[in-house]
């Protein structure tokens, strides 16, 4: 998932304008960050609807908190701290729901699969395989314990550095690294049954 952060200069200027009450500047900030924030929420929460709800809510909180942003941390780190907190709140709220309810993806992949098939020119079989691989990964990610999931998504999918993640989640650097490794190990266990999707032969004697 390759997403680039907006140029820092633009961002700082926008933040100042928002702090001075410029609503249009905030719209622009949303525009700049929404794809990444939405994708973080999507991977954290597992489905598009919750992702939209939660990431929009996160932007409201960012809006509220912006007057207090003094620039000690990078804006992105500061903002993602809010986003991850909102995700965490949603996840803990979910835990209070009846236990039968697990989040499952139903159809989010369909349209994407079709679109990709039409645009990439890769063979239908490859396309389906790749889709299945992503679907398997997505479900496995969604099933990870939230602290591990957060680190994995931020690092492997969103491309943040260990330092940035440590600051976002307010944990030690060592914790970030060990969580990432643990998350990957858990993920590997979870997709064991679909190993062939990843082109991995079952060569092990267990």
């Amino acid at each position: 998932m390759a997403m680039t952060a907006p140029p820092a200069q633009t961002e700082i200027a926008l933040i100042r304008r928002v702090q001075q009450g410029d609503a249009v500047a905030f719209d622009r900030l949303v525009e700049l960050h929404a794809p990444r924030v939405y994708n973080l929420a999507y991977r954290m929460l597992g489905n598009a609807e919750d992702a939209q709800d939660v990431s929009q809510e996160a932007f409201l909180r960012i809006y509220d908190a912006l007057p207090r942003f003094r620039g000690e941390a990078s804006f992105t780190t500061w903002m993602y701290r809010i986003v991850t907190n909102v995700c965490r709140d949603e996840l803990s709220r979910r835990r209070r729901r009846p236990p039968t309810l697990t989040e499952l993806e139903v159809d989010d992949g369909d349209g994407a699969a079709l679109d990709e098939l039409l645009t990439t020119g890769e063979s239908a079989e490859d396309c389906v395989l790749r889709q299945e691989r992503h679907q398997a990964l997505h479900q496995a990610i969604t099933a990870l314990p939230a602290p591990f999931r957060a680190v994995l998504v931020l690092y492997d999918l969103q491309g943040f550095s260990y330092d940035e993640i440590a600051e976002m989640l307010r944990v030690n650097l060592g914790t970030v690294k060990s969580r990432l490794n643990r998350a990957r190990n858990l993920l590997r266990e979870k997709i064991r049954s679909e190993r062939e999707l990843f082109g991995i032969a079952d060569s092990r004697s267990r």
Partner: protein, 488 residues
């Protein structure tokens, strides 16, 4: 080095950040241990796959949604300002009254009237409710049940939540309530809606008649009686009270509100059970021909009357329907041998909303418009053995279809309980699928061919749909109780 310890270092090893000594030790271990070597390779492959995962496209209306939410929050302030002239007028009147009283004071025995406070006094909860209702539109009022208990027993346990959540008493609050239910803080509403679980949703959307944006969730639920015209002509009567709304055995009150509970002239006529073959008149004459079918089996054949079994109740609402499409499932409530499917649409004139069982062909669901603008309607459908596949079609500006698979009557899943939350149709469907209730949201091309016959026998509808998908050239990927259809 033991295998159990090696797993700790996969990431660091792959990144090359292990201290030299450790790295060498690990390399030696990997040479001698195929299991760890394989795990490392798997990890490498997974990380590579993770990196290639595509970003989900941002919903087109995302930014607009943020703006709308912000605007909603600002609105109360705005509304206060817009009410200023009125408030000023009220104050002037109060001052005039005060002056008048001042002048006639010598003639009064008890001069402690406090006119200003009379004008602006915070109301009691009961008054508040009346005030809030007084400001609503005529059409809206028409939807209010004529139950005499409306004011006499207005506040159950909802009142405390409503009051605490509804901000300040006082003139502004009153003015706001009088002005419109729409202008209450959207965030507060969402939270309240969630806290209140099912009751306020059903109450709200029944009373407000299908306006996604009208969200006064503070209204109390009034106990009412509803008639469910059963396919066999039976009518089941359910008493609905606020506290029981969450109970999975109940059907959402508004969803089954028949004409008896809606005295308003604005409400379109409602189908009678005998009008089974016709489209709902309120839905404006459905262009879709009625599904010819063997007809639903007699209720008694399906289930013995003394064994009316609750399959479950599902509640959901969609405040973000525009983000999802023109069609939103507000809820599926299962009661005995029937399902009440409540559908809401954002389309301006949903004159052709059709809900029908396509397998086994059980005819069209009987629609009961719930709002004057016909934006909300409930369709009652019989539950079948083996489950049934229901198609929901809306052609208003854009075509939107959904397939809803109703659970098997007497199937293994005996109940679902979902908290009412603000969710989209897809989220609801997903939940139902997750709960084993076999609901699928299909790509339109899958159900475009109406001629296809689905065989749903002892197998679950999901399996049948999955088979059909395969026949149609789709690849059906089954995950738990969900089937994802993909082009082959």
């Amino acid at each position: 080095m033991k295998a159990a310890h090696v797993a700790e270092y996969y990431t660091a090893y792959l990144e090359g950040s292990l201290p030299e000594a450790l790295r060498e030790e690990m390399a030696r271990h990997l040479e001698s241990c195929p299991r760890c070597a394989a795990e490392l390779e798997e990890t490498r492959a997974i990380v590579a796959s993770l990196r290639e995962m595509p970003a989900m496209p941002l919903p087109a209306d995302f930014a607009a949604g943020v703006q709308a939410r912000l605007a909603n929050r600002r609105h109360p302030v705005h509304s206060w300002f817009t009410r200023l002239p009125a408030l000023a007028g009220g104050t002037l009147a109060a001052v005039a009254l005060a002056l008048a009283i001042f002048y006639v004071r010598p003639y009064l025995r008890a001069p402690e009237s406090r006119p200003v406070e009379i004008a602006e006094q915070p109301e009691t909860s009961g008054n508040k409710e009346m005030t809030a209702q007084a400001g609503r539109s005529k059409a809206f009022d028409n939807l209010q049940p004529s139950s005499p208990t409306t004011e006499s027993k207005p506040l159950g346990d909802l009142s405390a939540i409503g009051n605490s959540d509804t901000v300040k008493n006082g003139p502004e609050a009153t003015a706001r309530r009088q002005l419109s239910g729409n202008e209450v803080d959207a965030k507060e509403k969402n939270r309240t809606a969630r806290d209140l679980a099912g009751s306020s949703f059903w109450n709200r959307d029944g009373e407000e008649g299908g306006n996604f944006r009208s969200d006064d969730v503070y209204k109390p639920t009034v106990p009412r009686k509803f008639e469910i015209p059963a396919p066999g002509g039976d009518a089941a009567t359910i008493a609905q009270t606020p506290s029981s709304v969450l109970d999975s055995t109940t059907v959402p009150p508004h969803a089954l509100a028949g004409p008896a509970s809606a005295p308003g002239a604005a409400r379109p006529p409602v189908n009678t059970p005998s009008a089974e073959a016709e489209a709902a008149p309120g839905m404006g004459g459905t262009p879709e021909p009625s599904m010819k079918a063997a007809g639903p089996p007699a209720l008694a054949d399906v289930i013995s009357p003394d064994r009316t079994r609750t399959v479950g109740g599902v509640y959901a609402a969609d405040a973000r329907a525009s983000a999802v499409g023109a069609l939103a499932l507000r809820g599926v409530a299962l009661k005995g041998a029937e399902a009440a499917v409540t559908i809401e649409t954002t389309a301006p004139a949903p004159t052709d909303l059709v809900v029908r069982a396509i397998e086994p062909a059980g005819g069209e669901g009987q629609g009961y418009p719930l709002s004057p603008d016909m934006r909300t309607a409930v369709f009652s459908l019989p539950l079948q053995r083996g489950g049934s596949v229901v198609e929901i079609t809306l052609k208003a500006g854009r075509t939107e279809r959904a397939i809803l698979v109703l659970p098997e009557l007497g199937g293994p899943q005996s109940s679902i309980s979902l908290n009412a939350r603000e969710e989209s149709i897809t989220a609801v469907l997903r939940r139902l699928a997750a709960a084993g209730q076999l609901i699928i949201f299909c790509p339109p091309q899958f159900i475009a061919d109406r001629e296809a016959s689905l065989t749903v026998s002892k197998e679950s509808p999901l399996a049948a749909l999955s088979d059909l998908a395969t026949q149609r050239g789709f690849r059906a990927i089954k995950t738990g109780s969900t089937v994802t259809l993909m082009p082959k």
